[in-house]
Amino acid sequence: MSSMTLFAPRHQPARVLPGFHITLGFTLAYLSLIVLIPLSALVFKTLQLTWEQFWQAVTAPRVVASYKLTLGASLIAATVNAFFGMLLAWVLVRYQFFGKKVVDALVDLPFALPTAVAGISLTALLAGNGWIGQYLEPLGIQLAFNRNGVLIALIFIGLPFVVRTVQPILEDLEKELEEAATCLGATRWQTFSRVIFPALAPALLTGFAMAFARAIGEYGSVIFIAGNMPMVSEITPLIIISKLEQYDYAGATAVALVMLCAAFLMLLLINGLQAWQRSRSGASA
C-alpha cells in the first residue's frame, strides 16, 4: 500500500481548516527520518546475518540469563507498581491529608529525574555503608549490587505509570454507583471489589503494561545498582552495550532486534488496552 492511498483524506468535502497536507507531509517526513529509517537499519543489519549466527547471538547462555532477569524483574516491579500505584491513586483521589499536593507532584519524579541520578542515588542509599544499607547488612539483607538492586531501580522508574493511568478514571467514577451498591446492602469491600475495581481494571492494566514496557528497556538507573555480574545481574540492554564495546556489532544488533520486537508487542498490547479502556469509559462519558 502506498502512502498516497494510505494517508488519503477519508471524506473530501467540508475541509475548512488549512494546513492538512503540509503538516501531515512534515510529520511523515520527520517520523521517517528520525524513527522509521534508523529503526529499519536494525532489521536490515540483522538480515545480513545467517540464521545460525543470529540464533547463536540471541540464545547464548549469558544473553538468555539476561532475558530472564530483565523480564522477571520487570514483571515483579510492574506488579509492585500496580499495587502501590493503585493505593497512591486511591489515597490521592479519595482522601484529604497534609502535603497531598506535594505528594501528587512528587509522583512524577521518576519521569523528571535523569536515570543516572536515580541510579547513583539509590546505590548510595542501599550500599553496605548507605543510609538504609547499613541497617540491613547486619541482618544479612543486601539490596544493592545484586538482583534486588535491579528490582528496586525498576520499581522506582515505573512508579508513576499506574498512578497516572488510574487517577483520572477514579476521579471520574460516579459516586452514585457506589451509593447504589451500598443501598443494595453491599459491604464496603464488596463495593470495592465488585463495583470500583472492575471500572478501574482497564486503566490499571494499561499502567501495568506501561511500567513493564519501560522496565524492559531501562538502562541508566539499573547499571549503577545492579553490580552487573554476568549470568546473575546483567540486564539485556547492558548486553548490547558490552557487545558494542567489543565491536561485536552483529551480536549487538541481533539482541537489539529481539528487544525491539518485545517493544512492538508491548506497544500493541498497550494500544489494545487503551482502546478497551476508551470503549469502557466512552459508555459513561
Binding site: T23, T27, Y95, V103, F111, A116, S121, K175, G217, F224
Partner: protein, 302 residues
C-alpha cells in the same frame, strides 16, 4: 441542579472507609513515597554536600564539568525546538483531520517511548557509524556524526520524540474544530487563525510538553551514552559526566553534578504542577459558565 455529587473530594459517609482504614492506607502510601521518592532525592543533595559547600562548588570549577553543562544545554536547545515544531505539526494533522491510517500514525508517533534507550542509540550507530550505511561516505567527507555532537542530538531527538505531540493530540481533539472554523469563516488566514485561536487554546499543554521534553533531553543517559564515545570535555553531557566521576570514586563531585540535574527535575515538577492547576482552574471556570454563554470570553469575570 445539584453539583455536589460530582465533587469527588466530598466523600459521603455512607460510602467512605472507616477512619482506621483510611489512616492506614494514607500511612502506607506515604511510607512508600518516602522510601522510594523522598529518600533518593534527599540522598542526592546530602551526598553532594557531605564534605561541605567548598567541595561542592569545586566540582563545577573543573573545565570538564563546565563543558558537560554547556553541551547538555546545547543539545536541549536544538532538540526541544525540533520536537516542538514536529509536535504541533503532528497534532494539527492528527487532531484536526480525518484520514486513513491515522491510528497507525498515532501509534508510530508513540513508538520511541517503548524502544529501549540503548537500542535508540544503537540504530544511529548502524546508520552513521563507521560500519553503518553512510559510514564510508561520511568518513570520505570528514563528517563525524557518531561519537560527536550530531549523533548525540539525533539520539536525544529520538527519545524525546513523542513528548510534545502526546500532550497536544488529546487536548486538540477535545477542543474540536469549531473555533478555528469560525476564525476561517470570519476571514482570518491560516497563520492568524493559528496564532490567535489555536495557540492560546493549547498554550498550557504545549508548555507542559516542552518542559517534559526538556527534562528528558537534559537527563538522557542510555541513548546518548551509546553514541557519545565519552570524550571528556567534548562529548560528555552532564549525566555522562556523573557516570565518569562516580566510576572514578569522586563521589562528592558526581553527586554535586547530579544535584544540578535533580534541581532541574524539581523545577520541572513545580512548573508541571502549576500548569496542571492552571488547566484545572480553566476547566472549572468553563464548567461554571451558564449554558447560554458557552464562549470563553467571560473567563476573566470571576
Amino acid at each position: 441542579m445539584n453539583t455536589q455529587h460530582s465533587v469527588p473530594t466530598h466523600t459521603a459517609q455512607s460510602t467512605g472507609e472507616p477512619a482506621w482504614l483510611r489512616r492506614t492506607l494514607i500511612g502506607v502510601a506515604l511510607l512508600f513515597v518516602g522510601l522510594f521518592l523522598v529518600l533518593p532525592l534527599a540522598a542526592v543533595f546530602t551526598e553532594a554536600l557531605r564534605k561541605g559547600a567548598e567541595a561542592f562548588f569545586e566540582a563545577f570549577k573543573e573545565p570538564d564539568a563546565m563543558s558537560a553543562i554547556k553541551l547538555t544545554l546545547l543539545i536541549a536547545a536544538i532538540t526541544v525546538p525540533l520536537n516542538l515544531v514536529f509536535g504541533v505539526s503532528a497534532a494539527w494533522a492528527i487532531a484536526k483531520f480525518e484520514f486513513r491510517g491515522k491510528a497507525l500514525l498515532t501509534t508510530l508517533v508513540d513508538l520511541p517511548f517503548s524502544v529501549s534507550p540503548v537500542v535508540a542509540g544503537l540504530i544511529y550507530v548502524l546508520v552513521f557509524g563507521a560500519q553503518g550505511w553512510f559510514g564510508p561516505w561520511l568518513q570520505a567527507h570528514d563528517i563525524k556524526i557518531i561519537f560527536a555532537v550530531p549523533g548525540m542530538v539525533l539520539a536525544t531527538v529520538f527519545v524525546t520524540f513523542p513528548f510534545i505531540a502526546r500532550e497536544l493530540i488529546p487536548l486538540m481533539q477535545a477542543q474540536g474544530n469549531e473555533e478555528e472554523q469560525a476564525a476561517m469563516v470570519l476571514g482570518a488566514n491560516g497563520w492568524q487563525m493559528f496564532w490567535r485561536v489555536t495557540l492560546p487554546n493549547i498554550k498550557w499543554g504545549l508548555l507542559y510538553g516542552v518542559i517534559l521534553c526538556n527534562a528528558r533531553a537534559m537527563g538522557e543517559f542510555g541513548a546518548v551514552s551509546v553514541v557519545s564515545g565519552h570524550i571528556r570535555g567534548q562529548t560528555n553531557t552532564m549525566p555522562l559526566h556523573v557516570e565518569i566521576l562516580y566510576n572514578e570514586y569522586q563521589s562528592v563531585a558526581a553527586f554535586a553534578v547530579a544535584s544540578l540535574l535533580a534541581l532541574l527535575a524539581l523545577v520541572t515538577l513545580v512548573i508541571k504542577s502549576v500548569v496542571e492547576w492552571q488547566q484545572q482552574r480553566l476547566m472549572a471556570e468553563l464548567a461554571a459558565l451558564s449554558p447560554e454563554r458557552p464562549i470563553k470570553t467571560p473567563l476573566h469575570a470571576h
